[in-house]
Amino acid sequence: MRLFEYEAKEAFHQVGLPLPPSGLATTAEEAAKIAKELGGPVVIKAQVLAGGRGKAGGIKFADTPNEAKSVAEELLQMTIHEHAVHRVLVEQRLEIQQEIYLGITIDRSQRRPVAICSAMGGVDIEQVAEAHPEKITRFWVDPIFGLRDFEARNIAKNAGFEGKAMIQVADMLLRLWQVFIRNDAELTEINPLIVTTKGEYIAADARLNIDDNSLFRHKTLAERVSSGISEQTELEQRAQKAGMTYVELEGNIGIIGNGAGLVMATMDAVKYYGGAPANFLDVGGGATAERMSQALDIVLSHPDVEAVFINILGGITRCDEIAQGIVDAQPKLPRKVPIVIRMIGTREKEGAAILEAANIPFLDSMDTAAKRVVNLVSEVDSA
């Protein structure tokens, strides 16, 4: 789960990371008031759960409270990558001497946290990694020992910092490590870490993505999720509440299956025969008739869907439950579209009987089924 910048900064504040003086505003008037209190030039930043905010025009400057008001007004009417801006963060503008990158994320292949430091901050770190790989220092942290003081200093040194700058950068990295650990982070970043013309080290931006699986340890954040503030679309949230995973795509063939790998393979098979998947929907292991029925409803709520491919390989999941769910869903479906079913595995005979009784055809080969659903859609399109 990605946090808003202002939420990440609250976590930063708790470990003593220095931040620019700031205030959070939901109206232009509030923004003006904060700008007045801060005095001097400010930067106003749209608070959205999306990357690339700067390029999309979500960060603006203002020299006076009046200017802050009009800029905030503008930002609060924006939508950035489909996310409406409900809040802006008004911060004192810093006089920049240097911009540094500090980040900690999880390296999947090393199965360890990796701390990353670069003297080239303020820009996308992945671009720096490509253009100037030598300007990036990485250190893999032992997950049992945690990041140790001397290691943080070595990282800062290797990134090119000397003397007091090395000590300062190391100190901030150690605090960032505390943010990482205390919040069960998947990723946390200070980019840029600004060295002001006065020589202060300040976290100008803050990023913090938290492991969803850890939310039971982070009650305040868990509440935010349940209150619906998230990066997900409405259908994605509905599926999640029902215990399923749904991802919206751009095609016209609805996909339902059991097991993430199988659903991806199903999408790929549809594509292989020239079709385009409209979604990814994994009903999960041991799905009930009820859940299967909900899955169909969610998939068909997407207006582009012209046909549905249900691919079930019963293991824990029982074919009879799935079949019953399909039958039950029929009268309630938002609209009628062709449904191709492939169903084998646990209780496949019982499932087959249920479908046959309802006059619903099904296949036992995923490949044949994929070919069929693609053909059906082509017929519909050419009709």
Binding site: I106, E126, P143, D184, G261, L262, M264, L313, G315, D367
Partner: protein
């Protein structure tokens, strides 16, 4: 021969009194696996399917010194402790079925296992099966049959799909391993490939990858340098968009990392045969064996 588990494997079920633990204990026993005991803290002294339930792994190990594998059905917030307990007790193969374990917890017990020389399979895995000898997992056993093909996969149902294709085509499996769908898992493709390479009764390995991370790319490098036996690979998620988790927590393309295309290219370059559909595994094996 097989890898990791065989007829001599003696299994402990951690979380045996839970619904899932109980159900799959029965299924493993039905398959002929030697499940010898279970644990559930606070329920020591009970019996499940005639098996003794202990409060701790160490008590189980004292009673059954030959215990060498464990399978974990403990809820996510307690699963890391269960895995740590198993590793600490010297269990050599620790299979973590549980999904949704916090990733920080996973990093710690996987690191501990590495230091102690235990294999962690998973988390979020269907487990391991050496057909005809031992099932240490939750997979539907009927799609597997004994034979000489090794199977390694990041996905559950897709493993069954491919195993069914193999079985239908007359290619039995020496061992099939689910690596688990989480971003961080204990055993990797590389670890498993190494074991299959050493196993005299495995002729070829089928690798089932998916988008996200770089485990397949690392496997490719390893295959090129260290693997003499044929490798057939299938990668799921060619049509998956960037930045979205496709069901598995680990199945996500981040920036340029983790794309199906990248993985397919790397594997082809390393000499693996990459197939486009699961069904093609049959034809591919016919050609090389």
């Amino acid at each position: 021969m097989t890898i990791l588990i065989d007829k001599k494997t003696r299994i402990l079920v951690q979380g045996i009194t839970g619904r899932e633990g109980y159900f799959h204990t029965q299924a493993m026993l039905d398959y002929g696996s030697s499940v010898v005991a279970g644990t559930t803290p606070g329920k020591g002294g009970q019996e499940i399917e005639g098996l003794p339930v202990f409060d701790s792994v160490i008590e189980a190990k004292e009673q059954f010194p030959k215990l060498n594998a464990s399978i974990i059905f403990v809820p996510a917030r307690f699963a890391a402790d269960a895995a740590t307990e198993a590793v600490d007790a010297g269990i050599k193969v620790v299979t973590v079925i549980t999904e949704h374990i916090p990733i920080h917890d996973e990093m710690r017990f996987i690191e501990l296992a590495r230091r102690q020389g235990s294999y962690v399979v998973g988390p979020n895995t269907p487990g391991i099966i050496s057909p005809g000898q031992c099932k240490l997992g939750i997979m539907p056993a009927h799609v597997f049959t004994p034979g000489r093909i090794g199977l390694i996969s990041r996905s559950g149902t897709l493993t069954y799909e491919v195993a069914a294709s193999l079985t239908d085509a007359g290619f039995g499996q020496s061992t099939a391993i689910g690596l688990g769908g989480d971003p961080i898992v204990g055993m990797s493709f590389v670890d498993a490939l190494k074991l299959f390479e050493e196993d005299k009764e495995t002729d070829a390995t089928v690798l089932i990858g998916e988008i996200g991370g770089s485990a397949e790319e690392e496997a490719a490098i390893f295959i090129k340098e260290n693997i003499s036996k044929p490798v057939i690979a299938y990668i799921a998620g060619r049509t998956a968009p960037k930045g979205k988790r496709m069901g598995h927590a680990g199945a996500i393309v981040s920036g340029k990392t983790g794309t199906a295309d990248g993985k397919i290219k790397a594997l082809r370059k390393a000499g693996a045969i990459v197939i486009d559909r699961p069904i093609d595994v049959d034809e591919a094996l016919q050609k090389i064996l």
